[in-house]
Symmetry: C2
Subunit: 105 residues, 2 copies
Amino acid sequence: MKKNKPYYAVIFTSTRTNVDNGYAEMAEAMETLAKQQPGFLGVESARSAVGITVSYWESLEAISRWKAHTDHVFAQQQGIKDWYSWYKVRICLVEREYDFKKVPS
Amino acid sequence: MKKNKPYYAVIFTSTRTNVDNGYAEMAEAMETLAKQQPGFLGVESARSAVGITVSYWESLEAISRWKAHTDHVFAQQQGIKDWYSWYKVRICLVEREYDFKKVPS
């Protein structure tokens, strides 16, 4: 992750249907493809009752380009048709951050 | 979730140690307590290899108050001592959002 420069987070929260139909493969393919996009900074993903994927980007333009990427548009359409009963996307400006890392004892 | 007004997201990403020591109980207690705080709007949480909790707040002041809440400070200290090998906190302004909900067929 680059730092010390304003950047953006896209929070994608979702609940899944019980339809599989290639979901895991598509999720992996989209993560691989996202990482190749200009302005991509990182991605973190977890799923329990709800799924949360946060991707990080250099600019709003980079986010718009990724949203409009042909393969991604196809995945979004299949997501609406098959995979998600609900989702929400929030585009956010990261204003402040801090972290902690345990020192091995 | 309230809407149509600028609001903030706190993205808390973490990796756990293998130490339990009351982790689940504390996580639940903190979620209950967060919900009682002024300016709290919502929270979503998931854990796979990484844990992601996103909480939503009306203002930076509400976030600061919650960070400084005595019981929360105690939990944070135990988190650093026992539960987390790594975490990162990002405080973000939500600039845009949209959602999808499947219509039952």
